[in-house]
């Protein structure tokens, strides 16, 4: 996959990835694509708690911290565990 689904932009606090409005499993695929192609913090903007994403992140040695939850907008910061 050359271009992941969703929108992405670089900001001072890290790479922002917006997957809101995408159909499953595109949000998970987009986040994991950026995880595999980045080493810094990723700020993920999602429709909801991405329960299916967590096992895949753990498998890649990454962890997630929930920053903000509003209806239709869940924001997480993702970092490598070590």
């Amino acid at each position: 996959m050359k271009i992941p689904p969703g929108k992405a932009w670089q900001a001072k606090d890290g790479l922002h990835v917006d997957t809101r409005g995408l159909a499953p499993p595109d949000p998970m695929v987009a986040i994991l694509w950026h995880v595999e192609n980045s080493d810094g913090p990723i700020i993920a903007h999602m429709d909801r708690d991405p329960v299916h994403l967590y096992p895949e992140l753990a498998e890649r040695g990454w962890r997630a911290e929930l920053l903000e939850v509003r209806p239709g907008d869940t924001c997480l910061v993702l970092r490598p565990s070590r």
Partner: protein
């Protein structure tokens, strides 16, 4: 609102208690053992079986109601709320459907095996009650599935098929007692068509649209071919119901072809480098479906295949659906356990740590050997060969149950450890 949380954060609120899906999956693993054991008992009757009570009918329903329906219920309860973004309205119908279905399947299949129509009636009614609860709860959830309309379309069609097949099934059971049907065999064929291609086939088609891209990590699949596959499958079911078997076969081949193309498309665009053992089963299941349909066409065209109806039925049930479902269970059991388990570090357990490879390798070898041996036995009228195949399948089922039990035990231990840590933290805060 801003908050720092542990790894799963508030996500756990959206998950059902792990005990709900896992009880269905573990029951499916046990019914899987029972199905092969029952086939071993009925090995001498299989190749000449043309319907009616006995161990073959019991083995068939242990596989369909015991393994397929149980797996479908567990997977639907756990995965649909996540896909549709709406939590299940209540959990009691899910638990109730389990406690109706398990004794229902046991009584129904024991009655079938021993020829006791009364037990079949009680078991049939209990199983129907469990499936009715499942249908009601799933319908409430599908009503919220606007973002995945094509998956919901398959889901609604599968629920309609479920109502038809349960109605036909109960009629067939009562006919064993009353003998009021003029053509029991034709209705049984219809019941099987709606069960395999209707309920299970449509659930497989719909769930695959989301599950397979999720497993392989590829983008969501195009929906137009998905809708076309659904339309062809429904037209095929309608044709089969009218006794138009040739058009039904052509339409089923069309629906199957689209399904195969979609799955191939997902795998071609996969981000995952190694798909693992489960994909051997998932791919084999698809190709056995196609081979079974082509074999049916060849037989209707006059190809001299001995005991063809039994052979095709066996290939569809054990070769297509059982193979596919074992592949799905092999993948989602560790995945769901990882979602539910919060270890001492606050990180979920790794999927790779939960996947015991040795029992899975034994299962996959035994599963394919069993299918080959039983299929050969059916064609050669070889009861001994069928018995050997069923015994091999039994070994594979035991290995699969060991894998599933290991995942469940690890999950239970991790959740206990997590609860103990939380209790310790609460005590510390009070001090």
């Amino acid at each position: 609102m801003s908050m720092g949380t542990s790894f799963l954060g508030g996500a756990k609120d959206r998950l059902l208690p792990a005990s709900i899906p896992f009880r269905f999956f573990l029951a499916a693993a046990l019914f899987h053992i029972a199905a092969w054991a029952e086939l071993l008992i009925g090995a001498g009757e299989l190749s000449s079986w043309r319907g009616g009570p006995g161990p073959v009918l019991a083995a068939l329903h242990l596989a369909t109601l015991g393994v397929f329906a149980m797996s479908a219920m567990g997977a639907s309860y756990q995965l649909l709320p996540v896909v549709t973004r709406a939590a299940l309205a209540h959990t009691w119908p899910a638990i109730g459907s389990f406690w109706l279905s398990v004794p229902g399947v046991v009584l129904l299949t024991y009655g079938m095996s021993s020829g006791q129509v009364g037990l079949m009636q009680v078991g049939g009614v209990l199983s129907a009650g469990g499936l009715a609860l499942f249908a009601g709860l799933t319908a409430m959830n599908l009503a919220w599935a606007g973002s995945v309309a094509v998956v919901a379309g398959y889901g609604w069609a599968a629920l309609v098929a479920l109502v038809v097949l349960v109605g036909l099934g109960l009629t067939l059971i009562w006919d064993f007692a009353g003998g009021f049907l003029s053509n029991h065999e034709a209705l049984a064929r219809l019941h099987m068509s709606w069960a395999l291609f209707g309920f299970m086939g449509l659930l497989v088609g719909g769930f695959s649209m989301v599950l397979i891209p999720m497993f392989v990590l590829s983008r969501s699949l195009p929906t137009r071919p998905g809708w076309a596959g659904l339309a062809l499958a429904l037209a095929g079911l309608a044709a089969a119901s009218l006794g138009l078997w040739w058009p039904a076969l052509v339409l089923a081949l069309g629906a199957g072809g689209i399904h195969l193309w979609l799955m191939h498309h997902a795998e071609q665009n996969s981000m995952r480098r190694r798909l693992g053992l489960s994909f051997i089963l998932l791919r084999a299941g698809r190709y056995i479906l196609l081979a079974s349909l082509l074999l049916a066409g060849a037989v209707w065209a006059g190809a001299p295949v001995p005991n063809a109806p039994v052979l095709i039925g066996f290939l569809l049930i054990a070769g297509w659906l059982l193979t596919f479902l074992m592949g799905v269970l092999q993948r989602i059991l560790p995945f769901l356990a990882s979602m539910h388990a919060s270890g001492a570090s606050g990180l979920p357990m790794l999927i790779s740590d939960l996947t015991a490879q040795t029992p899975l390798r034994l299962h996959i070898f035994a599963h394919f050997a069993a299918i080959a041996l039983v299929a050969a036995g059916i064609m050669l009228n070889g009861g001994l060969l069928i018995g050997l195949g069923a015994a091999t399948g039994l070994v594979g089922a035991l290995a699969f149950a060991a894998f599933a039990g290991n995942v469940a035990l690890k999950l239970r231990n991790a959740m206990r450890a997590s609860r103990a840590i939380k209790r310790g933290k609460r005590v510390e805060r009070r001090r």
